[in-house]
């Protein structure tokens, strides 16, 4: 692990997409429809850095994590691990699984309830070829690294004897046991009690710093993303709509969807503005695939938003937003011309 320095790109996704075919709305025999759960996502996970992926349920964030861990096969796109393109036509190798570990949301469901905790920790070690004699020492080490001490006390227990926070630590320990380089944490704290959430979040941050792990932290809680992340991306309907470093995404959101998200978080500090109705209209389950996907709910939607996919606009300081509002005149003009020639932008994906 020590050959990795902070900031190196360990895992990169290029134009990663996953589409699902679903039955149409009008019944069993209706034409199939494509749902673009993840669409052309580009991101890189860097050693010692936390990338937070924020989005509501159905935004594609979990599918993205499953693609990165290669549980779900991408429809198109590339994965690059340690500078080498991963062969997506073959099954995931054991080595890939060792390097990229996924921590799931619900620790109660992720750990076998009829086996002792020691079983959950031992199994990945044995599968990944740790000599039998070393397994127990490794198990002890890894439990200590998630602050479950003394380890012996936890290894001989059954999952139901532990609290949610302790179980999630075991879940994380299990992921760490094989010395991964990349940890994908899918909503690791949303099932936990409020008072222990910060403890687990701090643990993840410490692990990331100490072991130079590249971490993806998936959440719907934008405040926790602000707390832990070095870079934050916001997903909406399968696309990354905004990304920025540090806290600037939440402190100065540019995309209307991010603005809506930030405004929706309960915030007792601004009691004066409470209960002002927000601009969005709920109930639109379908998305607009021709134009901006957020345009049906967007309070600032313009004509162009309904017709054309917005470009990713760079706002400086590694802050970018997929939106027509900050787009330059040239970007708008480019679309106007292509529309005249009746080949709208993004037609290759529609």
């Amino acid at each position: 692990m020590s050959d990795v320095t902070r900031g190196d790109i360990l895992l990169e996704a290029r134009d990663l997409s996953r589409h699902f075919q679903v039955r149409g709305e009008s019944g069993f025999f209706s034409k199939k429809r494509t749902v673009r759960a993840v669409d052309d996502v580009n991101l890189s996970l860097r050693a010692g850095r936390v990338l937070a992926v924020v989005g509501e349920s159905g935004s594609g964030k979990s599918v993205l994590a499953r693609m990165l861990s290669r549980i779900v096969a991408p429809t198109s796109g590339e994965l690059i691990l340690n500078g080498q393109t991963v062969d997506l036509t073959h099954r995931r190798t054991l080595e890939y699984a060792r390097q990229v570990q996924l921590v799931l949301q619900d620790p109660f469901a992720a750990i076998n309830p009829v086996r002792k905790v020691v079983h959950a920790i031992e199994r990945p070690l044995l599968i990944h070829g740790t000599p039998k004699g070393d397994v127990l020492t490794r198990a002890h080490d890894v439990l200590e690294s998630v602050s479950l001490t003394p380890p012996q006390q936890y290894l001989e227990r059954y999952p139901h004897e532990l609290s949610g926070g302790q179980l999630q630590r075991i879940n994380i320990a299990r992921g760490l046991s094989v010395n991964p380089r990349i940890l994908l944490a899918d909503e690791p704290i949303s099932m936990l009690d409020v008072s222990v959430r910060l403890g687990v979040l701090n643990l993840l941050r410490t692990l990331c710093d100490d072991r130079h792990l590249a971490m993806m932290y998936i959440t719907h809680d934008i405040a926790s993303a602000r707390y832990i992340a070095d870079e934050t991306v916001v997903m909406y309907a399968g696309q990354i709509v905004e990304r920025a470093r540090g806290t600037s995404l939440i402190d100065a959101p540019m995309h209307p969807y991010t603005q809506l998200l930030v405004a929706s978080v309960p915030n007792p500090e601004s009691l004066a503005s409470r209960h002002e109705s927000t601009a969005s209209t709920p109930g639109t389950i379908g998305f607009n695939y021709d134009g901006c996907r957020f345009s049906p709910r967007c309070p600032q939607a313009m004509d162009i938003c309904h017709r054309n996919q917005p470009p990713v606009v760079e706002l400086g300081d590694e802050h970018s937003s997929r939106c027509w509002l900050p787009a330059s005149d040239e970007q708008r003009a480019a679309v106007t011309i292509t529309t005249k020639n009746s080949t709208p932008v993004g037609s290759e994906t529609s």
Binding site: G164, V196, L198
Partner: protein, 354 residues
């Protein structure tokens, strides 16, 4: 006392799970009064007894839950006066006259609360048919449409099945159904926990508007303290089945008095200001089967003293008369020095976690 400004009076209410020596005490000695059109927020972690409390109050508690003591009085409005109704002594038949028409409840999971094989319209129709026998079929249909419009849904949703609605829409349907018979008290058990923040915001704003318009009282249960500060008039914080603090919402937020309340607030990373390391509350939530002696919070409390390990602190009022707290730190007879973060003046505008 048959004052019309109260809807609910609860005294020394306790609930156990199971009988005999192996029983677990889930709610201990809870007392409160809920005024007409007031919103009481109940905050606490899982296992704190907040759901058990409201199931007990409405007699919806199933075995092995046992109500072991206390008085619950609901005031049924009759003209200008109010008739006290002893909930715990009432027969099942009498309870039916109160439930839904006077007290209704909205549960966390709308998907499992709605019958998946029935269209939404039929659920509405059933409620109205059972409780409003004088209504004709067309009146019922009309009332259903009115109710849906009340929560901002189109009338065509009545023909849909639950799975055809989004999570937020389903929760709106549940709220509309709870309001169908214009109850005096609506109980909300984590109605927004399963929803994302944008939908949560919309539903909370809507509840606020509806309450202003219809004037029902509300008990709102959640683990999200900051949400309660926005919505509730008064907040009750529960820990291991005990009320540890009760105060007007803004005062509780501005100046928490119990170390657990303070810890809960510090468990939510702020949305503004400098990023800095926060600690939350050390340790694990309590195991009700093996509660520590004394104050149940003492093993996790940064301010624990000797007396905390020996005796359970009483819930008593402190400086401001409307506030109650169960903590030895604030007991004058103990003479402890109260840490500065637990003795802030409520008028000060300094926020927590800043």
């Amino acid at each position: 006392m048959t004052t019309h400004d109260h809807v609910l009076d609860v005294k020394n209410f306790s609930v156990n799970y199971g009988f005999g020596p192996s029983s677990v005490r889930a709610v201990t000695d809870v007392s409160f009064t809920l005024g007409t059109s007031r919103v009481l927020g109940v905050a606490g972690e899982s296992g704190s007894g907040k759901s058990t409390l409201v199931y007990g109050l409405t007699r919806l508690l199933r075995a092995p839950g046992v109500i072991t003591g206390g008085d619950v009085t609901f005031y049924v409005p009759e003209g200008d006066a109010a008739r006290p109704f002893d909930v715990l002594a009432a027969s099942e038949q009498d309870l039916r006259t109160i439930r839904w028409s006077h007290i209704s409840i909205v549960l966390q999971s709308a998907l499992s609360a709605l019958n998946p094989l029935r269209r939404i319209g039929r659920e509405f129709d059933e409620v109205l048919r059972t409780h409003e026998k004088a209504m004709s079929k067309s009146q019922r249909a009309q009332r259903s449409v009115e109710l849906l419009e009340l929560v901002g849904l189109d009338a065509d949703r009545l023909d849909r099945f639950p799975h055809e609605l989004s999570g937020g829409q389903r929760q709106r349907v549940m709220i509309a159904m709870a309001l169908a018979l214009t109850p005096e008290l609506v109980i909300m058990d984590e109605p927004t926990t399963a929803l994302d923040v944008v939908t949560q915001r919309e539903i909370v704003s809507e509840l606020y508007e509806l309450r202003k318009k219809l004037g029902f009282a509300m008990i709102f249960i959640t683990h999200d303290l900051s949400l309660l500060v926005e919505l509730a008039d008064e907040i009750m914080v529960m820990y291991a089945g005990h009320i540890v603090e009760r105060a007007p919402a803004v005062e509780l937020y501005r100046s928490p008095r119990h170390p657990y309340t303070l810890g809960l607030m510090n468990s939510f990373p702020p949305l503004h200001g400098e990023r800095h390391e926060m600690t939350g509350i050390p340790g694990s939530p309590p195991d009700l089967k093996a509660l520590p002696t004394g104050c149940p919070f003492h093993p996790r409390c940064p301010n624990a003293m000797d007396i905390c390990r020996q005796q359970v602190p009483p819930l008593s009022s402190i400086d401001e008369s409307s506030r109650l707290v169960a903590c030895w730190l604030h007991e004058p007879s103990v003479g402890a020095t109260v840490p500065v973060e637990l003795s802030k003046k409520s008028g000060s505008s300094a926020g927590v976690g800043q």
